[in-house]
C-alpha cells in the first residue's frame, strides 16, 4: 500500500488537482462540521442574503455529529455520516468556494458536476471508526447553532485526520473503479 499524502487546509486549486481517486490522505488544519439540520439553516441564511457563520472559501466540511465529550476530553467519538443526505445542499456551497467534503457513501450527479465545475474533492473517512478518528481532533468548539446539539456547527483543528479520496476533480471515482476491479458477476 502506498504511503498517505499529507494535505494542509485550506485547499488551493493546485492542492485539489493533485489528488486522485483512491489516494490515502492525512488532513491537518481547520475544518468545519455540518449535518442535515445545519445545512438546512446555512441554505436558509443564503436565501435571505445573509452571511455564513464561517468563511467557506478553500474549506472542508466534515459530515459528523459527535457523541458528547466525556469530562476532560476534547470531543466524543466522531466518525463520518452518510453524505448523500447533504446532496441537495452541497452544490450551492461548492459554488461559494467550498473545496472539499468528508463523509461516507456516494454523491449525486449534481454534486459531482458542481465539484468538477469548482475544482473540489470528495473524501471518505472510515464509517464507524469514530473512536480512532477522534484521536486526530485536537480542538473542537461550537461556532453556530448550539441548539442543534450533535448537529451544531463545530470548528475542528485536526492533525493527520485519515481519509481516502473518493471523487477527484477530474471525474475519478473510487466507488466505480474499486467495485469494477473486484466484481465477479455480470
Amino acid at each position: 500500500m502506498t504511503e498517505p499524502i499529507r494535505i494542509t487546509l485550506p485547499l488551493s486549486d493546485a492542492d485539489v488537482l493533485s489528488l486522485k481517486a483512491g489516494d490515502k490522505v492525512l488532513i491537518s488544519g481547520v475544518m468545519y462540521t455540518a449535518r442535515d439540520a445545519a445545512h438546512k439553516r446555512l441554505i436558509e441564511l443564503l436565501d435571505r442574503g445573509e452571511k455564513l457563520p464561517f468563511d467557506i472559501k478553500g474549506q472542508i466540511v466534515y459530515y459528523v455529529g459527535p457523541t458528547p465529550a466525556k469530562p476532560g476530553a476534547i470531543i466524543g467519538s466522531a466518525g463520518p455520516t452518510t453524505s448523500g443526505r447533504m446532496d441537495a445542499y452541497t452544490p450551492r456551497l461548492l459554488d461559494l468556494g467550498l473545496k472539499g467534503m468528508v463523509g461516507k457513501g456516494a454523491r449525486s450527479k449534481e454534486v459531482l458536476d458542481a465539484m468538477n465545475r469548482n475544482k473540489a474533492v470528495y473524501l471518505a473517512a472510515v464509517g464507524g471508526a469514530a473512536a480512532l478518528i477522534a484521536r486526530s481532533i485536537k480542538k473542537a468548539e461550537i461556532i453556530a447553532y448550539e441548539d442543534l446539539g450533535p448537529e451544531a456547527i463545530r470548528r475542528l483543528e485536526v492533525v493527520d485526520f485519515p481519509a481516502i479520496v473518493v471523487n477527484d476533480a477530474s471525474g475519478g471515482d473510487l466507488f466505480k473503479q474499486g467495485v469494477e476491479k473486484y466484481r465477479r458477476v455480470a
Partner: protein, 278 residues
C-alpha cells in the same frame, strides 16, 4: 409468581445501552478479524484494520465505537410467572434515558415531522413476547441510521419465489453500496405479513454471526446469498473488495397463500447487540 422490580429493569437497560455502544460482542469482532485475511483489496484491508483498531480502542477506553449510538431497539421476553411492579415500557425508557446520559452517548431520536430532538434518546422501540418461565430476558440492538436507511421491504408475488427473493436481496445490497458501512450483516425476513417480515429481518440480525438456520434449505439460501453478495465487489466501505458482507441471516414465518412478504434489514459492521437476564 416472581417479582421483578422496575428499578432492576431500568438498571439493567442502563448498563446494556452503555456496554452495547462501547464493547463489541466477540462474534462480530471475531468475524471482522477473520475477514481481514480474506480481503484481497489492499485498500479494503486498510479499512478493515482501521475498523478493528477502532473497536479495540472503544473497548479499552469505554468510548462509543461509532458516533451514531443509534435508536435503542429491544426484544424482551417476559416469563408468564413474572410479576412486574410497574410499566415495562416506562422502566425500559428510563434505562435508556440514564444510559445515554451517563454513558455520554449521542441522543439521536427526534419527532418525525418537526425534527425536534427528544433530548434523551427515548422513546425506545420495544418488542415484547410472553414466554414460559419466571425470567425477564432483555436483548438490545442499538441501530444506527446509516445502515437502517438502506433497508427495504417488498410484497413479492408467490410466483416470483426464491429467485425473486434473491434478486431483491442483491438489488438492495448493490444499490446501498458503501452507504451502510460494509462489511454488513444482512437480515432477511421471509413470510408472515407486512409488519411481521420486518420484525423477522430485525430479529435475524440478533443471531450470532455466521450461525446457520436450523432448516437446511434456508441455511443453503443463506450461504448462497452470502457468496453472491461478496461477488458484487462492493468491499469494505464500498471502496472495492471481496468482503462486502460478514453474514446473511434469514428468518421465515408462514404467510397468506396469496402473498410473499420479504424484508431486508441491513446492519453495519458495528453489529451491536447485548443481552441480560433478570
Amino acid at each position: 409468581m416472581k417479582k421483578v422490580l422496575s428499578s432492576e429493569i431500568t438498571k439493567a437497560v442502563r448498563a446494556l445501552c452503555i456496554s452495547a455502544a462501547c464493547n463489541l460482542e466477540p462474534d462480530v469482532a471475531g468475524a471482522l478479524r477473520t475477514s481481514l485475511a480474506r480481503e484481497q483489496s489492499p485498500l479494503g484491508r486498510d479499512v478493515l484494520s482501521q475498523i478493528i483498531t477502532n473497536f479495540e480502542i472503544a473497548d479499552k477506553e469505554s468510548l462509543p465505537m461509532c458516533q451514531d449510538t443509534g435508536i435503542a431497539v429491544f426484544f424482551i421476553e417476559v416469563g408468564r410467572l413474572v410479576e412486574l411492579d410497574g410499566s415495562l415500557e416506562d422502566a425500559v425508557n428510563e434505562g435508556v434515558r440514564q444510559g445515554y446520559k451517563d454513558g455520554y452517548l449521542r441522543k439521536s431520536v427526534c419527532h418525525p415531522l418537526k425534527r425536534v430532538n427528544t433530548g434523551d434518546n427515548t422513546p425506545a422501540i420495544i418488542h415484547t413476547t410472553i414466554v414460559e418461565g419466571d425470567r425477564v430476558k432483555i436483548k438490545i440492538a442499538p441501530k444506527g441510521a446509516g445502515s437502517e436507511n438502506m433497508s427495504a421491504l417488498k410484497m413479492l408475488k408467490p410466483a416470483e419465489g426464491v429467485n425473486g427473493i434473491k434478486a431483491f436481496v442483491l438489488d438492495t445490497v448493490r444499490s446501498a453500496g458503501g452507504n451502510p458501512c460494509p462489511p454488513i450483516v444482512v437480515g432477511v425476513g421471509i413470510g408472515g405479513s407486512f409488519e411481521k417480515s420486518a420484525i423477522l429481518a430485525k430479529k435475524a440480525l440478533l443471531r450470532s454471526i455466521g450461525s446457520k438456520h436450523t432448516d437446511a434449505e434456508v441455511a443453503a439460501l443463506e450461504a448462497e446469498l452470502l457468496k453472491s453478495i461478496n461477488d458484487l465487489g462492493i468491499g469494505p466501505m464500498g471502496f472495492g473488495g471481496v468482503v462486502t458482507a460478514l453474514a446473511v441471516h434469514i428468518e421465515t414465518y408462514p404467510c397468506h397463500i396469496a402473498s410473499l412478504p420479504v424484508a431486508i434489514n441491513i446492519q453495519c459492521h458495528a453489529g451491536r447487540h447485548k443481552e441480560a437476564v433478570l
